[in-house]
Amino acid sequence: MLDIIIDFFIIGTKIGLILLPLILAVAYTTYAERKIIGYMQMRVGPNRVGPKGWLQPIADVIKLLMKEVVIPSGANKGLFLLAPILFIAPSFAAWAVIPFDAELVLANSDVGLLYILAMTSIAVYGVIIAGWASNSKYALLGSLRSASQIISYEIAMGFALVGVLMASGSMNLGEIVKGQEGGFWHWYWIPLLPLLVIYWISGVAETNRAPFDLPEGESEIVAGFHVEYAGISFALFFLAEYANMILISVLTALFFFGGWLNPFQGIPFIEGITNWVPGIAWLLLKAGFFLFLMIWLRATFPRYRYDQIMRLGWKVFIPVTVVWLMILTFMIKAGVGPWFTGRGVF
């Protein structure tokens, strides 16, 4: 009995070690987003709470926690309160298989890649239930938009990941990164460039971020599926959205940009002086770049129209991925170096 409790305690500690920094990262991602978008619009962003506004996210959190949770009349109370939990649970659960370094991973699963796809697809339940249980037309419209968007882009995303799978020959995230060993030019982003772009755009669409933030389209349906949520229940949606953003950024770094690997591998002098940098720092650096790119996209592009989103997902992305998968097959079979050397059959 005792060893069971100890087991649970150890696993719980590991989970806490991933989730607490993640929540802190989410808080400061909101800060970074407001600052960066502010700067791109020639404003200064939040700068009043604490030095340079550094305490702004803390203030936001306290405000959200203190606010009342309003349950609309006619809402299905149980499901209404369950929805935020259903939304946030998968976005946290997906972090279980993320390798932060060669040995630093909570669950070294052989189906890690599929597991992540499964978790991101479960999150859609939170959205649908939130929209339905709110007893509000805007919420329902928002949830329908969001659900169809998530389902459509999941296909393109899955196809793009099939490319990664073919290139690395494994669904284990650690193995995928290890397959890219050997410096900047050995990473998969070059042979999989179209898939990288498609994966990235689908990732942005799947997290309902601008320019694909139709489900939240403030100008049309107020705030979409979470329009009726306030206080901590809204905070959970917010937290999950940003956790998903960070997840997509980290995954892009893992799949296409060599995860924790040093980009200067194989370059004689620089490799030597950058060897002391721990792998997790490289991973966070790469993920940070993609997070910045996501915010950059939001500051730049106007929102897509609904039919355009569907057209892009079904009529552009899926055909492009299928074509590139064929090209990729030939590249692998021909053993194109330096990525697929030794795997050729010709």
Partner: protein, 163 residues
């Protein structure tokens, strides 16, 4: 040929990259934010902010209860009751109220006033804490006038030649 050109343009994401370049450049531009309480933008002497009732230099209130402002107010924000004053029998207002929630700050009351009594000051950062505080009474309006009289008089002087 143009189809081919278009094909390459759309699949290299040229348009998107152009957009990203523009916002990327703006990231480094000088910021134009005015840090409000510490810095303020210049105001015109014609600025229309919080209302005030003025007095003559001898302390006599200017308003004669002609109700022109009440009549001209497009939002019907002004309510006036008038009658002879107890001690000297001159026509004065017994009630002069402005509902600040209704007011649209058009400045018509100011324009219509024959004795420059009701004016709009430069004050624009004010708030109400209790329900009902939004209705400014005569005493409050006179107090505002007393407080900002110097500024009000200066602004009227500057604008006088255009009126």
């Amino acid at each position: 040929m143009s189809k081919l050109k278009h094909f390459f343009r759309s699949y290299t994401l040229k348009d998107l990259l152009t957009g990203l370049r523009i916002t990327g450049k703006h990231l480094w531009r000088r910021k134009v934010t005015v840090q409000f309480p510490e810095e303020q933008t210049p105001q015109s002497p014609r600025f229309r902010g919080l209302h005030a009732l003025r007095r003559y230099p001898n302390g006599e209130e200017r308003c004669i209860g002609c109700k022109l402002c009440e009549a001209v107010c497009p939002a019907a924000a002004i309510t006036i009751d008038a009658g002879p004053r107890q001690d000297d029998g001159t026509r004065r207002t017994t009630r002069y109220e402005i509902d600040m929630f209704k007011c649209i700050y058009c400045g018509f009351c100011e324009e219509s006033c024959p004795v420059d009594s009701i004016v709009e000051t430069r004050v624009m950062d004010y708030h109400f804490e209790q329900r009902g505080d939004n209705i400014l009474t005569k005493a409050q309006l006179l107090a505002i006038g007393d407080k900002y009289e110097e500024q009000i008089a200066e602004d009227r002087k500057q604008d006088a030649k255009y009126r």
